[in-house]
Amino acid sequence: MIGVALANLRSAPGRLIATALAIVLSIAFVTGTLVLTDTIDASFADAFGGGGAADVTVRGQAAFGDDLERPGVDPALAEVVAGVDGVAAAEARYAAPVAFTGPDGAAVSNPGPPTTAVDVPTVAALATVELRDGRLAAAADEVALAAAAAEEQGVAVGDAVTLALDGAARDLTVVGTFGGPDGAEVVDGTTALFDDATAVAELGAGGAASIAVLAADGADVPALRDAVARAAGDGVDVVTGDELAAETTAAFGTVLDYITVALVGFAGVSLLVGAVLIFNTFAITVAQRTRELALLRAVGAGRGQVLTAVLVEAGVIGAAGSAAGFGVGVGLAAGLLAVLEAVGFPLPAAPLQVLALTPVVAVGLGVAVTLVSAVLPALAATRVPPVAALQAVAAPPVRRPGAARVLPGPRAGARDAGHDAVHASGLVLLAAGVAALAWGLVSDPAALPAPRLAVIGAGALGVLAGTGVLTPVLVRPLVGLLGAPVAAARGLQGQLARENALRNPARTAATSAALMIGLGLVSFALVFASSLRASVTATLEEQFRADLQVQGASFGPPVTLPEEVAGVVAAVDGVAVASVAREADVGVDGVAREQTPGDPPTIAPVLSVAVVDGDLADLDGGVAVASGVATDLGLAVGDDLPVQWRPDADPEPVRIVALYEQSGLPFGGGVGQLVVAAERLLAALPEVAPTGVLVAVADGAGVADVRADVETALADYPGAVVVDSQEVLDEVTATINQILVLIGALLALSVLIALFGIVNTLSLSILERTREIGLLRAVGMLRTQVRTMIRWEAVLVAVLGAVLGVGIGVLFGWILQLALAGDGLSTLSLPWLQLVAAFVLAGVAGVLAAVVPARRAARLDVLRALSI
């Protein structure tokens, strides 16, 4: 029988090509997705998780868990630490935010990890970078730049460059470029290297950033950490390199988690799409061979032997196709990354991540799905009595539920029972999904057994899976409906297109599933992004009354501004109010509470705070509290709030004078949980520097004019950037767009695969209907009419996928918006234009998918088609 199987592979090249193509495409998609997701994941992990080369790090104590902002360390501690047993070397390291300046002298905001300037370590083993060109800085007016940053800025060794360092501009000469170890790019944001003396002067205003400690050979690092901690005394925090790396990763954990979950979701989707595509193909090819398998059975082959033959055949195709698919997938991922880079969206770090597990998963999945996909229809085929199957098998009968069947055999009944069971399970999945969704959305988060988003996510998954299972049932009404205008406009060809799409609902459902999943995710992402933008806009319009905002140039943690900036801005003609924003974390009830802008006498014209009780004007030495916090603590206006200004300080009672509704920007920003008058804040924490100046323009003065004047006044402060609310919105939009581009790249892949899925299924369906097409041609169907018929069938299948996909995507987007409404995603916004574009895209995909199959069908030789 193995001989028969192999002979089969050689003798039916058309079918073999279609099957192998389905496997290659599916596995290419799975591999591409895995490689892309691993690469994206790794690049983000690298960007945010760089641990440095130190075995032990001594740093300032974090204020209430905010790992990004720590006070400096006394550089003198380096000598103390160096004396500890087991320490080979200890050195104070300096770092500060740095930015390049644009042609107008203002700092250039840089999306990506924060860029920093650091000193060159004197201990070579502590270095995290390698020199690429030139030399390291040796004088105060020299600097070495990260090679990638230098290239981006278009500067080379010997050129002059202006850097904004802690708000001040510095003219420097580039003396060298550097990269990461082993030829890689620098991934932790290190952009500029100063010589040690300059670094101490320029970067050491708040002390050293940390003390890097190198352990002696063979030293026990955790023990060394404890010893160093004892020697360094109170007020500092000592961690090992591993702890630091884990912590940094955790600090960006939410971001990474979101990304990882999204990427794993994509990988899962790709597996599903691939499996559907392969299964689909085999369902057709093995069904076509029912007669051949029956012949084998009739001449004496046992069922087991027939199955073995099918298995061997499937195994060979599966292994070969998967291996080829793996290669194609790696190529696809590399190509997509190149495209991303070409259109200006380079990933933070680039080496393509092909993990050892990837080929195992890809090929293993390919072979497993192929075997299952081949065996199930083969099993069904061997159950057919050989005699029955040997009778003329034309196109498969058209099943029409409800209509009387001419030959109702026991087989039909059994199959219907099976279908009913599948449909029942689909309904159960759908119901469970809806229930979980409702539960997650409606009930108190504290009462849920798992995080709210997890419950909602599980519910969404249930709805998706249930819909997938139920799609065959939905095909009839939906395609009937979608096909009605086609039948009306295209006459008989339109009617036949609709009927052909309907003749095997399960196949149509499976074919459109790939597109459904892809477009479902696209529209989900679109709805989310659109709602995010709308929410930000609404919040900005509602809360930020400031006409202009002066802020530090950076992405990520807020960059402080020099204290005198506020005065400079206030002195500009046409500035009515210049309210200084300061942010600090203080402790209340042992929990870090973000404290935001606030100098109450000047806050009202620039920032709208929805006071629910009391009056902000009475703030004085007291505090305004977000009503949610007050409720949690059981406090009201007039009570004392125990505020812990510093981690090591005792709580101090501060009178609550007002409560307000906190409605911040999505994912942070906006008004924090406490508002304290600047005087009160500075009395307790004198080192808190301004993070921004909110400006209200005087009546009658033009915003643009005032802005130009403010920019002129701030010429000496390149780190200070003036933005208006539109630019704040643009910045948010730019971030959203960047995420959308990443998602789009993955989805382009899935839509592409879905397209080939339609081509493949359509080609096989046409093969199956050869005789019918021959008949149509014989009685007078023109070639163009054949093409029209097939084109519209493909369009109907594609648009079906779009209807289901966009429907589910919008539903999920709406659910996510409801779930995150409290976190700032307050407005649901449906991007109609893009959603309509998704339908048009699906239609175009259908037309494209039909080109080759339609041409092949139109060119069928009528006589040969009739005699099959």
Binding site: A395, P397, V398, A403, Q495, L775, L776, A778, G780, M781
Partner: protein, 259 residues
């Protein structure tokens, strides 16, 4: 009456009623050079309008090839096919398709119907492909003739084999084609259903002057025709008018014993 091939070796039109279709030195070979097989070898035949002609012959005699060439489903290697005054062999692919749609009716042995269309949709298929409204009165009459009144909304899968062939006959007649070609129309039917189908074709000739050309190997089926043409080895071997099943059988036997 019996004639030989020599009697038919006449110029076209000579002494015959108007021909609905005719062939001139029609030749068809398959394959090339040394492996070529000649299916039809210079056949000259005319099919009179308003008559029912059966084409018979042993397997490989070329009868199916003749029908395919007459019906514009295939192109001759040499020679010509005329449908009325149209030289079919000179037409483009598109024109051929239109010719089949507008001027020819077909009844095949099996798989005559589009499974996704119901009976009446199958019957009006050629007209709808042409974008024409079927002639309602004529359609009703055809449908009534083949006795499908209550089955018109059924799909082929819900019809018996005999009913399916009746739908096929109705489709072939519904467009009032110049000529109807039937290729073993009763091959898959029991004798009663087969008799009905042949009766409908006969009636269309008698009552509406329809021209029918049918390929068959069943002497009983051939007996419904006005004339039987016997092919052997790609040539017209003999011919019979006003056949009975016995005379057809005799003629076939003589064909077989020919050297």
């Amino acid at each position: 009456m019996e004639t030989t091939t020599a009697d038919l070796d006449l110029p076209p039109h000579a002494g015959l009623p108007r021909a609905a279709a005719r062939t001139v030195r029609l030749t068809k070979t398959y394959g090339r050079a040394d492996t070529a097989v000649t299916a039809l070898d210079g056949v000259d035949l005319a099919f009179e309008a308003g008559r029912y002609t059966a084409v018979m012959g042993p397997s490989g005699s070329g009868k199916s090839t003749l029908l395919h060439l007459l019906a514009a489903l295939d192109r001759p290697t040499s020679g010509a096919v005329f449908l009325g005054d149209t030289d079919v062999s000179s037409l483009s692919e598109r024109a051929l398709t239109r010719l089949r749609r507008d001027r020819i009716g077909f009844v095949f042995q099996s798989f005559n119907l589009v499974p996704t269309l119901n009976a009446v949709e199958n019957i009006t298929l050629p007209q709808r492909l042409a974008g024409r409204r079927p002639d309602r009165a004529w359609l009703d009459r055809v449908v009534a003739t083949v006795g499908l009144g209550d089955r018109l909304r059924h799909r082929p899968g819900e019809l018996s084999g005999g009913q399916q062939q009746r739908v096929a006959v109705a489709r072939a007649l519904a467009g009032r084609p110049e000529i109807v070609f039937a290729d073993e129309p009763t091959g898959n039917l029991d004798s009663r259903s087969g008799g009905e189908v042949l009766g409908f074709l006969r009636a269309s000739v008698d009552e509406d002057a329809q021209t029918v050309v049918m390929v068959t190997h069943d002497p009983g089926a051939a007996a419904y025709a006005d004339r039987v043409v016997f092919l052997a080895d790609g040539r017209v071997a003999s011919e019979l008018t006003d056949p009975t099943a016995e005379r057809v059988l005799d003629a076939l036997k003589r064909l077989e014993v020919r050297p």
